[in-house]
């Protein structure tokens, strides 16, 4: 068995831990969690969350340690977010997961620019993702997800997959069927699992009217598949990452339109999009739900169909 960094649970350590949980290898999982330093009673620590995750994993009839849907957003506009593990649940991931021009091999896993691994700094976020990935892999788990989904208050926005992606066709169908059960919810998300959407459509499946797909960059699929996905009834448009000057990232101008430098940052993003040949363009200002108008998300808005939305990443 590999040893893990004892100073803290590093990303490779978390990858090992997630691999053990998804392989249902309780022995390895227990050993890895035992190696995490700290006191299990110290609230908010990795050890604290890991032990509670393990207790649930050993007896999945117990109460879930983490809420399946997390509340996010701003003061006036909360939205519900669903996440699962990045990478493990991303069959369409390419450069975002393995790095530009890198081989899709285990050694390069998590070496790309995928922002979701940054969320692993927060142990509760990592274990929520892991719990959700475990749940989606069994019918009993999916029933739990369904019952929590049906309890979301009326007329809310749900962001389906902040981290992670549709892992297979059965899971994509599961979510689309659930979406149809809650026509009051506005559901949108990002995906690189393009082939799954095409496979589902090929089966004659009708996508729900209240789901909007953002076709995100970094996929392993080429332009031919992308063009087909862009033609689906559920697709809003592309969501891409474009290289911008490092200063915009360092200054956090990309995080909120009220942050200093945001205007300049967005101008650069729009310029990059123009150079790439996108006719209709929108620069994401970073603060989700506060980008176009009150109570609307650009990525989840029908009005932005056909518009390419972009965020900046540093070179």
């Amino acid at each position: 068995m590999k040893t893990i960094n004892l100073a803290k649970l590093s990303t490779p350590g978390k990858i090992d831990l997630a691999s053990a949980a998804l392989a249902n290898d309780i022995v390895t999982l227990s050993k890895l969690i035992a190696l995490i330093p700290g006191n299990e009673d110290d609230a908010g620590t990795t050890k604290y969350f890991a032990i509670r995750f393990l207790r649930w994993f050993e007896n999945q009839n117990d109460s879930l340690p983490f809420a399946i849907f997390a509340a996010q957003g701003n003061v006036k506009l909360p939205f519900y977010a669903f996440s699962s593990l990045p990478g493990f649940d991303c069959p369409g991931a390419g450069a975002c997961l393995y790095g530009e021009g890198k081989e899709r091999i285990a050694e390069n896993f998590a070496k790309g620019w995928c922002y979701s691994f940054k969320a692993w700094r927060y142990p509760a976020a990592f274990f929520r993702q892991l719990q959700n990935s475990v749940l989606l892999r069994s019918s009993a788990g999916r029933s739990l997800v369904e019952s929590e989904f049906l309890m979301i208050p009326e007329n809310r926005t749900v962001r389906l997959y902040v981290d992670g992606d549709f892992a297979n066709l059965a899971i994509l169908r599961f979510w689309m069927n659930l979406t149809k059960k809650r026509k009051d919810l506005g559901i949108y998300g990002y995906s690189k699992s393009w082939q799954l959407f095409l496979d589902l459509e090929k089966q004659g499946y009708e996508f729900p009217a209240n789901y909007l797909l953002n076709v995100s960059s970094g996929s392993k699929y080429g332009n031919k598949v992308k063009e087909k996905v862009l033609g689906l009834s559920c697709t809003r448009g592309e969501f891409v990452a474009v290289p911008v000057a490092r200063k915009h990232i360092a200054s956090k101008a990309y995080q909120d339109k009220d942050n200093p430098g945001s205007k300049e940052y967005r101008k650069e993003v729009l310029q990059r999009l123009k150079e790439m040949g996108h006719a209709k363009r929108f620069a994401c200002p970073g603060n989700c739900g506060n980008c176009i108008a009150k109570k609307d998300h650009a990525c989840g808005s029908d009005k932005l169909r056909g518009v390419t939305i972009a965020i900046g990443i540093h070179n």
């Binding site: 009673d41 110290d42 609230a43 908010g44 604290y48 969350f49 509670r52 117990d62 109460s63 879930l64 340690p65 983490f66 809420a67 997390a70 509340a71 996010q72 957003g73 701003n74 003061v75 909360p78 509760a124 929520r128």
Partner: protein, 52 residues
């Protein structure tokens, strides 16, 4: 319930209290609410286990 378990629960509650105090200073934040919810959820699970 043993004294050690009570002490651990107290620590968990103090951590929730500090999250609320932090939000009093920095303003309302859904992410913080989620963190508080997560902590309360685990405290309830720990209490349920202790009672069982």
């Amino acid at each position: 319930m043993e004294k050690q378990q009570i002490r651990a629960l107290l620590g968990q509650l103090i951590s929730v209290q500090s999250l609320l105090r932090k939000m009093e200073e920095t303003g309302f934040d859904w992410e913080k609410i989620q963190e508080i919810n997560d902590n309360l959820r685990l405290i309830i699970i720990d209490l349920e286990k202790a009672i069982d």
